[in-house]
């Protein structure tokens, strides 16, 4: 008896809640609320808050919004969506609702956000994303992953003279950039019959996991078996492991091409340079696209100003700074001007060794050392 009555009560509660929701909905007209002081209101929907790269990227785009060119024109607000695409969809919609002029995003999925992006475009909100989504109305700033993967692989193979055993460290399986990069790797390797891939390690773009996986790999192999490494992330750690295991200095460090970690670049300095961690290692350090997140803001403001980019997607491979032991150079103070003059590495001890150092690029000449670390521009 009472149970049934309660069931009825539940129904009532449900109905009340629903109609309350509907009542709020009815009679409400969607008013656009641009910022009153005439600035562009721009939101950045980042992904996961708990890793250094994401933090650096957030800092870099914040610093960009504070540079002279933008500080009076842009108000930037950042929200995080974690690893949950559904949450990012809701978040981006809330940004539209809050009257955003533009939304910048690190998309958790290249496909799942299409609906909300389309909705944003229909309401006149400019959407600029890094890495890519398949919805054509968004402006996409991305690296050609296949090309980058091929380039890095080609470099290692050249070091080996076209012959030897290679290990690949991949990123997160199932993510487009990872698959592209790995495709570039495999296509290049296929061109050289004397190159043998002896291991594909799932590194998840994580230096600490790259170490775990390499340790697992080394249980059944030796450093002597490996002639070259192509790593989406991990060159720094894997080179350090060779020192710890005593492989270096008996042998030169195994050539590795991959991420733009500061520690990895320091390792390229000659051992007699008196810099801590210098190994004189052969390596190619070519960018994680950190600066490109700050570049999103420039693209967004340009579009809002009526200047559309020449192409969409905007591939940035040409703006990547390539660092090898021939051009590695430590900065004195780390200002943007100094980076422009050709330095590309920060002295040891100031930033952690896994710190992505590619915040400066010809496309973001405003950004110096303090941008990614503190979210502040030089001036």
């Amino acid at each position: 008896m009472s149970a049934r009555r309660f069931g009825w009560l539940k129904g009532l509660a449900f109905g009340t809640a629903l109609s309350a929701a509907a009542a709020f909905g009815l009679g409400a007209d969607h008013a656009e609320a641009k910022t009153k002081d005439g600035k562009y209101l721009i939101y950045y929907s980042m992904s996961y808050v708990g890793n250094a790269w994401q933090t650096e990227a957030k800092n870099a785009v914040t610093a960009m919004s504070k540079t002279a060119a933008y500080k009076d024109r842009v108000e930037l607000r950042t929200q995080a969506a974690g690893a949950n695409a559904q949450k990012q969809i809701q978040q981006m919609n809330a940004m539209i609702q809050a009257g955003a002029d533009a939304i910048l995003a690190f998309p958790i999925s290249p496909t799942a956000l299409n609906g909300v992006i389309k909705n944003a475009c229909e309401k006149g909100v400019v959407v600029v994303v890094i890495n890519g989504v398949t919805e054509p109305c968004a402006y996409v700033v991305k690296v050609d992953g296949v090309k980058l993967g091929a380039e890095r692989t080609e470099w290692v193979i050249k070091q080996l003279g076209g012959k030897g055993n290679i290990v690949a460290i991949t990123g997160v399986p199932g993510v487009s950039y990872n698959e592209e990069h790995h495709q570039g790797f495999k296509e290049t390797v296929a061109k050289y019959p004397d190159i043998k891939v002896i291991g594909e390690l799932v590194g998840m773009w994580d230096q600490s996991l790259a170490r775990v996986k390499m340790k697992e790999f080394l249980a059944t192999h030796k450093w002597e078996d490996i002639d070259g490494i192509v790593a989406q992330t991990g060159c720094y750690t894997l080179s350090l492991m060779q020192v710890e295991d005593g492989y270096y200095p008996k042998n030169p460090v195994i050539p590795c091409s991959g991420e733009s970690s500061n520690g990895g670049r320091l390792q390229m300095l000659p051992p007699d340079s008196n810099v801590e961690g210098a190994l004189g290692r052969a390596g190619l350090s070519s960018g994680s696209g950190l600066w490109a997140v700050a570049y999103l803001l420039k693209v967004a403001v340009d579009v809002l100003d009526g200047k559309k980019p020449a192409s969409n997607p905007i591939f940035y491979n040409d703006a990547i700074v390539h660092v090898t032991k021939d051009n590695v150079k430590i900065c004195e103070s780390g200002t943007a001007a100094e980076f422009a003059a050709g330095c590309n590495t920060i002295a040891p001890g100031i930033v952690p060794p896994d710190y992505a150092i590619d915040f400066w690029s010809p496309n973001t000449p405003e950004l110096g050392f303090s941008s990614a670390l503190l979210g502040e521009p030089d001036y």
Partner: protein, 693 residues
């Protein structure tokens, strides 16, 4: 007159009682309404029909998935495979749905069928093979993740727009959103099921399986169909995910898992079974989705969002559970009794020396002669210890099998110290974490706060030590203390507030993530003390000190868990907290001790991981959580507590590490590695299953 009065009073009290029992639901509805009112108040007039329609479409996948999880919770289960299953349906549909009506209808059915099949798979092993839900769904999660990558390695595929808009368009243009129709249909479906005998059985089995069985309810069949029904809901969630995103992505479902749990818990369904339902879950799903809007409107710094979300979860659970029959109220009652006892001197007085102090190391090495045993001494020993041995054998046997496969497939230097040094060094992390996690599991709980407690200890240690040994002498005890403090908070949540361990530890995990973020500003600095790195880089007789210390870890673990009164009480509590309490065990104090131990082990894991890596990372604990749980369960530990042996977990640690060396060292395709992991875990526990009776 009086009889009517009495009936009325009876009715009104049962009403109140009923309302008390449904408090979880009431909290869920109230928080949803509060959320809506707040949002409406703060951004005036901006909740339009479009927003409602968008909200329902976007929350749809979470609603259906959490309804499935609710069914699982109701029968006392726990399903880690929910998120992955959504993705499996998603990638299948995005790959194979065509433009014709026939194809779309067929693929909808296929999507629902895939979910249902996964549910039946889980249900079969849990109900009929009598395996534990955590380990079965952990295994099926990994298997499905691998399948997802095989079906769709790169996000893509599509479903036609017309098909999507059937589900997420409008039933009445600008009047009623179609997703709400489907949510209401699902709710109706659930309400109808609840009214059937099967629905009653679901609640009965969840409340008390033995009582249900004694009353003629087929417990196994109910559980099997329960998981199958949950799978059907996941299928619906997958279909909805597909139409909402119009495309496929192998990873998109996994990201939802934590939120699926949160929605179920927030909706007032009790972990452990028997109480709750899908209505609360639906409201909770909407509330969780709206938190995003609230954070954005308030412009909350993104570093705080993990903390804010954890606190919301905790508050809701406290709101739904703390009351007259809660643990806290019980404490207050006992305290009052004690106080009044003190006042009128009616408390029993303890005689000094009445209870002999015993050494905490309550060791009794002497063999008791047993005349009933026959055969050789070895045989007698085996007979005596068979129950324990039976738990250890699968993990160790499989470890040797994997090692032989390593030798056969990869060969090379895999037989020497070189291989075993790597194996032992990597196994150290599992071995350490398994002590804490194992102790918690032995009491019937689960500690999900390991990843970020571990990372917090690591980043603080690295920052403070900054590559020097000097500060490490106080920094290491400090971070270990911090870990114990986290454990204490977990323990207090479990003991004082009577919250399920999963909820408390999930929340503290979020808080620790937030604290680590705030402490580091998002970019961890510093480096490990050299002494810690020495553990991994030096060599004695071919092995690193870390590998040698595995012996010490195992010895300490065996003494703590199996040779002390504390350890014995852990088993007693796991078997039955009630019986343990009535037998004079201070259950609460021991539970606190167990969680403190686990917090300590997490922090120690962070210290060791920092030494291993040289530097520390905010995410370094995440890859360790699920494998450690697998290690504990594969090692013969019963997930409901009371059964297990550390030597089994130790074997589990070696098994999973060896498996890692096998898949990483050989050329197994990446997607297949997850499948291998899942199959091995499932295979290992299959041999451990309990027989009825």
């Amino acid at each position: 007159m009086t009889t009517i009065d009495a009936t009325m009073r009876l009715q009104s009290t049962s009403w109140l009682k009923r309302a008390g029992r449904e408090r979880g639901l009431i909290v869920a509805i109230l928080s949803f309404v509060a959320m809506m009112v707040f949002l409406h108040g703060i951004i005036q007039g901006s909740i339009s029909y479009f927003e409602i329609s968008f909200l329902t479409a976007n929350t749809g996948p979470l609603v259906f998935a959490a309804m499935g999880q609710t069914v699982v919770f109701l029968i006392g289960g726990f399903d880690l495979s929910a998120g992955a299953t959504l993705s499996l349906v998603n990638v299948m549909m995005a790959s194979y749905t065509g433009d014709s009506f026939g194809s779309q209808a067929a693929m909808t059915v296929v999507g629902l069928a895939i979910g249902t099949l996964v549910g039946a798979f889980n249900g079969f092993f849990i109900a009929y093979m009598r395996l534990q839900p955590v380990v079965v769904t952990l295994a099926s999660m990994f298997i499905i993740l691998g399948l997802n990558l095989l079906v769709m390695p790169d996000p893509g595929g599509y479903v036609p727009a017309g098909y999507s808009s059937f589900f997420i368009g409008n039933l009445i243009p600008d009047g009623f959103p179609a997703p709400l129709v489907f949510i209401l249909l699902a709710l109706l479906f659930w309400v109808l099921i609840k009214r059937t005998r099967f629905g009653t059985a679901l609640y009965a089995v969840g409340s008390n399986e033995d009582a249900a069985y004694s009353n003629g309810i087929p417990a196994n069949r109910t559980k099997f169909y329960g998981y199958t029904l949950a799978g059907f809901f996941y299928g619906a969630g997958g279909v909805f995910l597909t139409v909402q995103t119009s495309s496929g992505d192998a990873l998109v479902g996994s990201g939802m898992l934590i939120q699926i749990f949160a929605a179920t818990i927030l909706g007032g369904t009790r972990i452990g079974g028997g109480q709750g339902g899908c209505l609360g879950t639906i409201f909770a799903a909407f509330t969780l989705t709206l938190i995003v809007n609230v954070l954005l409107v308030l412009n909350v710094n993104s570093s705080y969002s993990p903390i804010v979300e954890s606190i919301v979860l905790i508050l809701a659970v406290i709101g739904a559970t703390v009351g007259r029959d809660s643990a806290l109220a019980e404490y207050a009652r006992v305290m009052r009794l004690q106080l009044s006892g003190l006042a009128n001197r009616s408390l029993p007085r303890f005689q000094p020396g009445a209870e002999a102090r015993r050494s905490p190391l309550n060791v009794d090495w002497a063999l008791r002669p047993n005349d009933e045993l026959k055969g050789s001494p070895l045989r007698q020993w085996v007979t005596v210890n068979w129950e324990t041995l039976r738990l250890l054998i699968p993990a160790w046997a499989l470890f040797f099998v994997v090692y032989i496969v390593v030798l056969a497939v990869i060969g090379g230097g895999s037989w020497g110290t070189h291989y075993f040094n790597s194996l032992f060094t990597l196994a150290l992390f599992y071995a350490v974490l398994a002590i804490g996690q194992g102790a918690v599991v032995l009491t019937g709980g689960l500690d999900l706060s390991v990843p970020h407690t571990l990372a917090f200890a690591g980043v603080v240690l690295a920052a403070v030590a900054n590559g020097q040994d000097g500060p490490a002498y106080w920094a290491i005890p400090m971070v270990l203390g911090a870990g114990m403090l986290v454990g204490l908070v977990n323990g207090l949540g479990v003991v004082l507030f009577g919250m399920p361990s999963i909820v408390v530890t999930l929340a503290t995990n979020g808080v620790m993530q937030g604290l680590a973020l705030l402490y580091t500003g998002g970019i961890p600095t510093g480096a490990s003390p050299p002494a810690l790195q020495w553990l991994f880089n030096a060599r004695f007789l071919g092995f690193a000190p870390a590998a040698w210390s595995l012996i010490l870890v195992a010895a300490v673990a065996i003494v703590v868990l199996h040779r002390t009164t504390f350890g014995r009480r852990i088993f007693a509590i796991g078997n039955s907290a009630r019986v343990a309490k009535l037998s004079g065990t201070r259950v609460d104090a021991n539970l606190l001790g167990v969680y403190v131990l686990s917090g300590f082990c997490s922090a120690l894991g962070g210290v060791l991981m920092t030494g291993f890596s040289g530097i520390s990372f905010l995410s370094m604990g995440i890859p360790l959580l699920l494998p450690t749980i697998a290690v504990v369960l594969v090692g013969g530990t019963l997930a409901t507590g009371g059964r297990g042996h550390y030597l089994g977990m130790f074997g589990g640690a070696l098994l999973l590490t060896a498996l890692g060396t096998l898949v990483t060292g050989s050329q197994v395709p990446i997607a297949v590695r997850d499948i291998v992991f899942g199959v091995v875990v499932l295979g290992a526990v299959l041999t451990l299953r309990e027989r009825r009776g």
